[in-house]
Amino acid sequence: MKKPWYEWIQSIDRRIIYLVVFVLVSLPFFIPIPLPMDVSEQVQKLYNKVEEIAEYNKTAKKKKVVLFSMEWDPAVQAECWPQTEAMAEHCLTRGVPFILFSRWRPEGPTLAQQIAEKRAKEHGKKYGEDWVNFGYKRMDLPAFLAFIKDIYSQVTKDTEGTPIRTVPMMKHVESIRDVDLIFHVTGSVGVEQWIQYLQPETGVDVSIGCTAIIGPEMYPYLDSGQMVGMMEGLSGAAQYERLVGHLEGRGTRGMGSQNLAHFWIIAMMILGNVGYVFQRRRERLDKQRVEMSGE
């Protein structure tokens, strides 16, 4: 017996759905969709904070630095890589020294090193003067609290094995209070600990670059002011790239594919529900008919 249309549209083979996803995500690579991103409030606030540091550093003898807390791994590099790249681009072009660091993810600083090297090469910036990589320094809570009290008690060398105090840019950093912004990039955990343990003690501003999945969880911290800004997912990275003028970044390039993929998901949701509604209607009518014929 031939399936009614409302059952047919609810039973499309999943492999066809996968194929359409693949085609729709691939299409904008070849046919770009050139629509600009509007910049959201939290991305703008983050940008403004870094600009504030850059303006201060123009005249200050002792520069303020940004600490990139790289708690991401290859599984989430799709979103975290463009976020790190956009922030590194901003810091390098505006003369804001930054530190790469991780407490939980050994891969984070390794991948961030590639990003920083590439951006630094384009702008003629030098390792040790414009940025430094502390690497992965596994710290559980007491070690982290000790790190907050005195950075040098927990970090003695950078990833190259150079004693940290001899790195030129570290002359600006006597303690964690000389870090003016924590930029925590992650796919899951960790930003709460900066807020719980560092901020009450030192008042250092905390910001986040996170995967879109955990973005909604960060809004309470943005609302309370415990976080100054956020890059949420690929769109956050694309917005930041627009602000820093890095339009060939991965964030901007990926937004075209996001458009078509989102429309397909919405279409699938509508399709499934249209079929469901009509199926329920048919079942209700059939039930009524049976009840009436029974009477």
Partner: protein, 273 residues
């Protein structure tokens, strides 16, 4: 009927085999051509051998990507093989990094006096509690490993006090303080009701309704307010879950976009990187 199904099945398996062979042969052929092209015309500043190796490892990454995507059609032995390799690589990397980044600088160098640190033989004592972890592998003596587990659980729970109170009650910025939002704004001495105040009311109402939804200390039915507020709380939670779903779609699609970017720009080179 049964023979018809068997015939369809056999045809499907033949088609699958042909497709797999064509794709594999195509990928392999492209890989070889790409590698020999790199060897013949290496980029500036690179030797032929280095260029060949670079194209080889990019092809390896691309083939790994394609094999993982074959899982979308059906689970297969190539996918399972790569899955095991991933587990092996992850464990190997994690183990080596814990030695080089944790134990060596914090324990071994202090014990033997390496890397300009003075030797301190007392660090050998750390081995004894450290070894307790491995009693998890013994059925009879597993309680010895519990010593460490319970100690770390104790430290974790003690730390939770500090963390929770700092998060919720930090002066000015604490989550609790920031939940008290103004419902009226003073403009030139007189109270005004602005759009911000309207949003603040929404915020406080949603927060209280959601909190009441999770309130289980007494029965809701006997209370005049809780049944309504907790039902509203459920609807507001659905708004929250809707936003999570919306952002999750973006997050998941980004993962796919990244892999396709790699295939088109770095492997196939049909787009500029």
């Amino acid at each position: 009927m049964a023979t018809e199904l068997e015939a369809k099945d056999a045809l499907r398996r033949k088609v699958e085999t042909v497709v797999v062979v064509v794709i594999s042969a195509g990928a392999l052929l492209y890989m070889l051509v790409d590698m020999f092209r790199a060897l013949a015309n290496p980029p500036e500043g690179m030797s032929g051998g280095s260029a060949l190796y670079e194209r080889f490892i990019v092809s390896v990454a691309a083939i790994c990507t394609i094999v993982i995507y074959s899982f979308l059609y059906r689970e297969n032995l190539f996918y399972r093989f790569l899955q095991h390799i991933l587990v092996g690589l992850s464990i190997g990397y994690g183990t080596a990094v814990i030695w080089t980044q944790l134990l060596k600088p914090n324990w071994w160098d202090r014990l033997v006096g390496a890397e300009s640190l003075p030797p301190n033989p007392w660090w050998i004592l750390a081995v004894f509690p450290g070894i307790l972890w491995y009693f998890q592998l013994s059925r009879k003596k597993v309680w010895l490993s519990r010593i460490l587990i319970m100690f770390f659980m104790g430290t974790g729970s003690g730390a939770a006090f500090m963390g929770v109170f700092n998060l919720l009650l930090t002066p000015e910025k604490g989550q609790i303080q920031q939940s008290f939002k103004p419902f009226l704004t003073r403009v030139g001495g007189a109270p005004w009701f602005t759009w911000t105040n309207f949003n603040n009311i929404i915020f406080v109402v949603v927060l209280l309704c959601v909190l009441s939804y999770f309130f289980f200390s007494f029965r809701h039915e006997k209370n005049p307010i809780l049944p309504v507020s907790s039902k509203l709380g459920r609807y507001f939670l659905m708004i929250c879950f809707g936003t999570i779903f919306g952002t999750t779609v973006q997050g998941r699609m980004t993962l796919l976009i990244d892999r396709l970017t790699f295939l088109y720009t770095e492997w196939l080179k049909i787009l500029a990187s």
